[in-house]
Assembly symmetry: C2
Homo-oligomer: 231 residues x 2
DNA sequence: CGGCATCCGTGACGATACTG
DNA sequence: CAGTATCGTCACGGATGCCG
């Protein structure tokens, strides 16, 4: 009576053309998710939006990703035209991954995700990793009102990063909208803590308010620093 | 010499608290992906953005999703506060899933994905499924310039849907930005083909151009129809 | 019949070890 | 340093069964 149940539930699936998994929908969002919907892919993009990086550094800033998955995603991203692998000039003898223009086009997607996810970013769980440049997207949102073009260095307790302000931060501009570490020649510098970055990104407080409060410290003497101080 | 290699590669993983898989990063984008980064989740959201739907209808419009995964995602979305299950009034004896306000907040994410994915949506592969309302996001992008509030019914070869125009389509407005099928009392109606929807969404052509060309047909006599015709 | 639950085969994922 | 190899586990997709 139960022998019949063992019958061929599934064809051996032979000769299927090993198609990469796709949603197979004629829909723009579905096509986008075919490219960036796999686990870790968008977080790798988030990393590369801050500038070219080496494999090992990517692995270090993405705790939890396994080496083979990272290698596989980078390969997929190369094949998909999102990133390229570039050899550094001779003395370095290393190679870095960097986004193509198509890859940079994902900034609005990451920004929308960050904006939506910000309210859920209240408690910092003990298992959570943190990197300073992860706060660049929330902060960029709070700086969209700035008119002066320039590079702003940001110092957090967790580390440093820098962002481009003014139209230079707009989508489609050459260069990264934000980057790791200190800037080569910043036009201004601010010091604040990560929590304040998030509040600014959520719009809970305005830039002008926290400058007055002293919760944010502005250094520099150029026009960008002046605008940050409120003239 | 090779006996040592068989040693415990992995702890039995006992007593791990069965944590739902999270990226464990104190980052807004990562938190967002903890909620909506699983396979199919954002496409379910895309469906529900068009209005409440029953389980079976969702399954029908998401070819390829297995029944258990769909049930599991819907449960996750309920638990995550993205959607609720609501019983229909007695005669229907069915229940529908609908987005919460938090869930509706994902519209900008889907819109950004659709915008980024649009250039990749050139050839329609023979394996691709199609639904009319999947073209609502690209079309909405082309209609952001409209000032008149109202409901616009859209007729494609593949079926019908309707979109809200004017400030009513803005994020945070009550009601869905777009919906399945014909509208109850549309303020205007347009007829075009899916390809044109995509061209409009990509910005390859403007609304005014295609109205003049006759590639788009505008029906109705209210102010919205007039604005669509270019006064 | 709608709304799942169960079972199974395959593939993706995560951790670790190993190699050029 | 930058991956590849290997392995255990879990997620996914497909088919089917159950239950109100």
């Amino acid at each position: 009576m139960s022998r019949l149940r063992r019958m061929p539930r599934q064809q051996p699936a032979a000769s299927r053309p090993v198609r990469r998994r796709s949603y197979d929908q004629f829909c723009a969002s579905a096509r986008a998710l075919d490219s960036v919907g796999d686990r870790w892919t968008l977080l790798i993009v988030r990393e590369l939006l801050a500038g070219p990086r080496r494999y090992t550094d990517l692995h270090a800033d993405l705790p939890g990703v396994s080496t083979d998955v990272l290698a596989s995603r980078l390969k997929d991203m190369e094949q998909g035209g999102l990133a390229v692998r570039r050899k550094l000039p001779p003395p370095a003898a290393a190679s870095v991954y960097e986004l193509t223009e198509r890859g940079h086009g994902l900034l609005p997607v990451l920004a929308a995700l960050a904006e939506w996810g910000a309210p859920a970013l209240t408690e910092r769980r003990p298992t959570d990793a943190v990197r300073a440049h992860w706060f660049a997207l929330p902060l960029l949102r709070a700086l969209t009102g700035l008119t002066r073009e320039g590079v702003l260095e940001v110092r957090l307790g967790e580390g440093e990063f820098h962002v481009r302000t003014g139209r230079g931060a707009a989508v489609g501009s050459e260069g990264e909208p934000y980057g790791f570490g200190p800037a080569p020649r910043p036009d201004a510098r601010i010091t604040l803590d990560a929590e304040l970055c998030l509040e600014l990104g959520r719009g809970d407080v305005t830039l002008a308010e926290v400058v007055k409060d002293g919760r944010i410290e502005v250094a520099g003497d150029g026009p960008l620093a002046a605008e940050l101080r409120g003239e």
